[in-house]
Symmetry: C2
Subunit: 335 residues, 2 copies
DNA sequence: GTGAAAGCGCTAACAT
DNA sequence: ATGTTAGCGCTTTCAC
């Protein structure tokens, strides 16, 4: 069908080995031969067969990305960062959806191992029960993003979730909120854990009592945020502040607030983690903890590629990027 | 590292070919040998090397899915359908984002060809300018979903966009709307074209004049729908009905309507194509043209797998699935 | 610096 | 029905 390395070699009057050397540029090849090879590559439209290459090299040029929700802009923006960095290094990127489901996650990690992917970027469904040993047995490096693994030491890129939750809560307190409710993520994720802890820390530090009736857990999805918020609003004494721990749940929360016709920020000051690009269109503008999602992805890929090219087990790195509390109208009380 | 087919063969006391035959089940193998082979496969934890298999078979077990927006639930639900069907047949699925960008799309189609993917599900960015010849040259079958290609005859799965747009428009007319605005998709896509045509046909059939001032084109994204709707609302005479031709733009439209404090359905009757799962939470409930997205994906994969296994060029099929106009409160005028 | 040859793990054609 | 053999397209020793 299409041209192989032999065809190019023959046409250029050299051996396949030489063509390979020219194309991979690791070894010096005489100027003249090199020129002839490139000429024929162009002429024949030769494209190396990645499969054969990978079979021989015992590793593909593919990075796997296993995330919990492809429909979440937070993750897709991250994926862009990964893609860009990977492409530069000649790798391609394959996406898989774990749906916060340990079974699905395990299956995809097995696929990654079976397909001999060069590395995996993972946003683990559970800090304790996600199992990356399949990959480690095959010598496939892993980097976690957004979340961490408890027992297993692997590279990770994330923000200081505890700090940012504390800052957001402190901001709401400073706006005069006395009863700040919190919509938390799944208990199993480190983001769920750390953000809740940060919220509590801020309340304690301010001398407020931490009222567990004001905390609801949900699943990081729109419906979850919607339900949780409705329940919080129906508490005997209504909260006057609300912090939501991800973007999709924040959207759900806004729907619930709208349904109950609650005025932001007058009746309730609102803040959440992670923006959504089009949310800028909303009025009031939203107060959000903004993560450098693209950069998280880019650095994850960078770290992963480093591990791939030099697997000499350096100590696992944990990279903490800085996030930003962007204050909008939804939490700002005049006066 | 991990066990190969030779290891299994040796352990079971048979030849590699026999192991292959047992595993692929195309040829009869004696009960006894088959048992021994399976036993050793289990024991050694043998996993076939897909790379080697693909290299030998001259085709991977991977389907490519090239869509314009991974963040759109419409497409992701479709991808689920594709994945489920593909997995049943032992294929895995790789996603790529074309962003409605012809260049990106072309690059991904080239990747699909270079990686020798078994087939491609494509939602073409442009009915005329999208070029699938790269795939055809490599004998890789293509199925388009949601949209069609003009010149190139390939299989396609979609709904009757003209009909559904007409029905939705007729519904708005029946609710007493006299000035129905339309937010259309990109001119280059068949969905953009057909839905607009259906809208116009309904107006003409009702004896209404078609006022091009009431039609805005946008890019199928939230921002686009938001901008387009704002402009439509600022027309000298405000529309009293609005049909939006996809889900994300509908979300943008709703934001715009909210910003202008327009009451649905009293001041304006609202309908759109494609639901969003969490939109059920919205009040008023929305009137939508609901597509069988999962089924579109499933059938696309089914058709593709058929082409892959028997490439004897039967005439390209066009499968038209039925959609449904689900009437909600957003367009229902009492009395 | 370059070519010949071996082999990555698998399947298919050919023998038996 | 099963085994032997060759080869998919590439990289990489090993000679020269």
């Amino acid at each position: 069908m299409s041209a192989t390395i032999r065809d190019v070699a023959q046409a250029a009057g050299v051996s396949p080995a030489t063509v390979s050397r020219v194309l991979n540029g690791k070894v010096e090849v005489a100027e003249e031969l090199s020129r002839r090879v490139r000429e024929q590559v162009e002429l024949l439209g030769y494209r190396p067969n990645g499969l054969a290459r990978s079979l021989r090299m015992r590793a593909t040029q593919v990075l796997g990305v296993v995330i919990s929700d492809v429909t979440n802009p937070f993750f897709t923006s991250m994926v862009r960062g990964i893609e860009d960095q990977a492409q530069q290094a000649g790798y391609s990127v394959v996406l898989a959806n774990s749906d916060e489901d340990l079974d699905k996650e395990r299956r995809y990690l097995e696929v990654a191992a079976a397909e001999q992917m060069a590395g995996v970027v993972l946003s683990p469904s559970s800090s304790r029960r996600t199992d990356v040993s399949v990959l480690q047995r095959h010598g496939i490096p892993v980097v976690t993003v957004d979340r961490q693994l408890h027992a297993t030491p692997v590279d990770s890129i994330l923000i200081d979730n505890h700090l940012m939750a504390r800052l957001a809560t402190e901001h709401l307190l400073a706006q005069g909120c006395r009863r700040i409710a919190f919509v938390s993520g799944p208990r199993a994720t480190t983001t769920g854990q750390r953000r809740l802890a940060g919220y509590r820390a801020a309340l304690r530090a301010a001398g407020s009592t931490v009222d567990d009736d004001l905390v609801k857990r949900a699943n990081f999805r729109v419906e979850g945020g919607y339900q949780a918020t409705l329940e919080l609003l129906d508490r005997r004494r209504r909260p006057d502040g609300l912090l939501v721990s991800n973007n999709l749940m924040a959207l759900g929360a806004l729907l619930a607030l709208q349904e109950r016709e609650i005025d932001l920020p007058a009746e309730l000051a609102f803040a959440s983690f992670d923006g959504i690009s089009w949310a800028r269109a909303l009025r009031p503008t939203l107060t959000v903890v903004e993560q450098p999602t693209y950069e998280i992805g880019r650095q994850a890929a960078e770290l992963l590629l480093e591990r791939i090219t030099s697997p000499d087990g350096i100590h696992p790195r944990k990279v903490v990027l800085s996030a930003e509390l962007r204050v909008g109208e939804s939490s700002l009380r005049r006066g």
